[in-house]
Amino acid sequence: MPPKRAAAKKPPAGPPKGSAASAKKDPLDEIAATIQKQKAFVTCASDENKHVNEHAYSGAYAALGIDSAFTAEKFRDEFKLEVTHLDDEKVEFEMQGLSPAIANAFRRILIAEVPTMAIEKVFMVNNTSVIQDEVFAHRLGLIPIRADPRLFDLRGEGDTPTEKNTIVFKMCVKCTREKTTDGTKGALINDKVYTDSLVWLPNGSELPPDEETKFTQFSCDQGEYLKKRNKESKELGEKEYFNRNGKDPNVISTVHDDILLVKMVAGQEIELEAHCTKGDGKEHAKWSPVGTTWYRMVPQVTFPSGPLTGEDADVFMRECADFDDAHACYERVGSDRRVVAKNERGCEFCVERVRALSGEPGWEEKVQLLKKKDHFIFTVESTGQMPPELIFKEAVNVLASKCQSVLSAL
């Protein structure tokens, strides 16, 4: 294939731009600096993201004198973690010095492999409402249940439902009309059914057992069981997470009491029992402890060929900064009115403008949007069953215990 070979024989690439101005610089140093930048950052150009790969190979970048092998000591030195926001439903933190392979493992485990309790079996005694049994049962399954999943066991296929693996709720509502004396129609009672109509049964099922099924076999009051388990974990030095907001950790309820479940008219009624089991998100999303969780790389707005001045500065401010009076990521300082990034990370409103501008002819060397490959902003949004910081810690434990179980099978 002679034409192809001819195409491959390109003239040697010229020296990198700007090297003429700084002739004293060793070109090898410049190449090294470029490779270092490509190693640490993704360059977000206007049309594509460049240098997106992480080279995990232990000998990668050996020519630069970098040892890419993993050692626990090096990891501990380089790893940094800072919590930036924490409330009852959400935790946001920054992790530095961690590979996306591990960060993504945490994210995937948070979504699919941290167990929670959710309604799994619904026994319908009576349902004359317009919603079908199976649709209503599915709806019930998605309700977040406030119970510490660490205190419960997984229930296998043939296992007996006990206080250690099953939580029982009952629901018994009938829609009626208020009685009036003047013959007019009274107001509806129970026309809207909310989650507060689910009543926790600490002594298990109240349905009469038939020959085949005993619905549950509780050996003691579930509240007592929880009290015992919570006391044990306290003695082990674990913190009591479910005592927050003055909620009793030994009482089980739904997280929210105002989720609308069904609407009825006078005469309709629903009677059922709902049994919760422990499970995880890979079987069904109802067991996922998070609404969602995600991470993003830390963005950085840079001016590779030095601060912008003169006309460039005017253009930059017009395109990327002055779209809103309140926007304050960049400011102009000094007698030459050069542009300085007050907030190097930019904000969600300006980084995409910077990315677009870097694609304009002549601008790619003046302004660049970079993203740091090993610095993540992690967000965990809880559904309310567990505090968000606990969910993350559980996820870390899950990864470690998965490794442990592979180890023991080797």
Binding site: F70, A101, A400, Q404
Partner: protein
């Protein structure tokens, strides 16, 4: 087939473990090649291939990789605990200085 090259099949695992192990194996200078694949998207199993340079067995390399992931997990767990505590302390001092006294627990400084 030698002790220096092996394919491990992890049952009931997916990309979560596959990619994490692959990464740690590649970070070991005694490993010549490491990779993973999920043979079928509907079957929960993952194959991890390890070939070493001949200094250690494939099983030993695998064990090292798993221990490294565990040490990462332990360190992340402890650091996260400290960071949560630190954040709480920062908030507590922020609330003390809050003259209006209406700052919530989650309010940032």
């Amino acid at each position: 087939m030698s002790v220096y090259e092996k394919t491990f099949t992890l049952k009931d695992e997916d990309h979560t473990m596959g990619n994490a192990i692959r990464y740690m194996l590649n970070k070991n200078p005694q490993v010549a090649l490491a990779g993973y694949s999920v043979p079928h998207p509907m079957e929960r199993s993952v194959n991890v291939r390890v070939q070493t340079t001949g200094e250690v067995t494939a099983t030993a390399a695998m064990r090292d990789a798993l221990l490294d992931i565990i040490s990462v997990c332990d360190h992340v767990h402890d650091t996260f605990d400290l960071a949560i505590e630190e954040h709480g302390e920062k908030n507590a001092t922020a609330m003390e200085t809050d003259v209006a006294g209406k700052g919530g627990g989650s309010k940032k400084k």
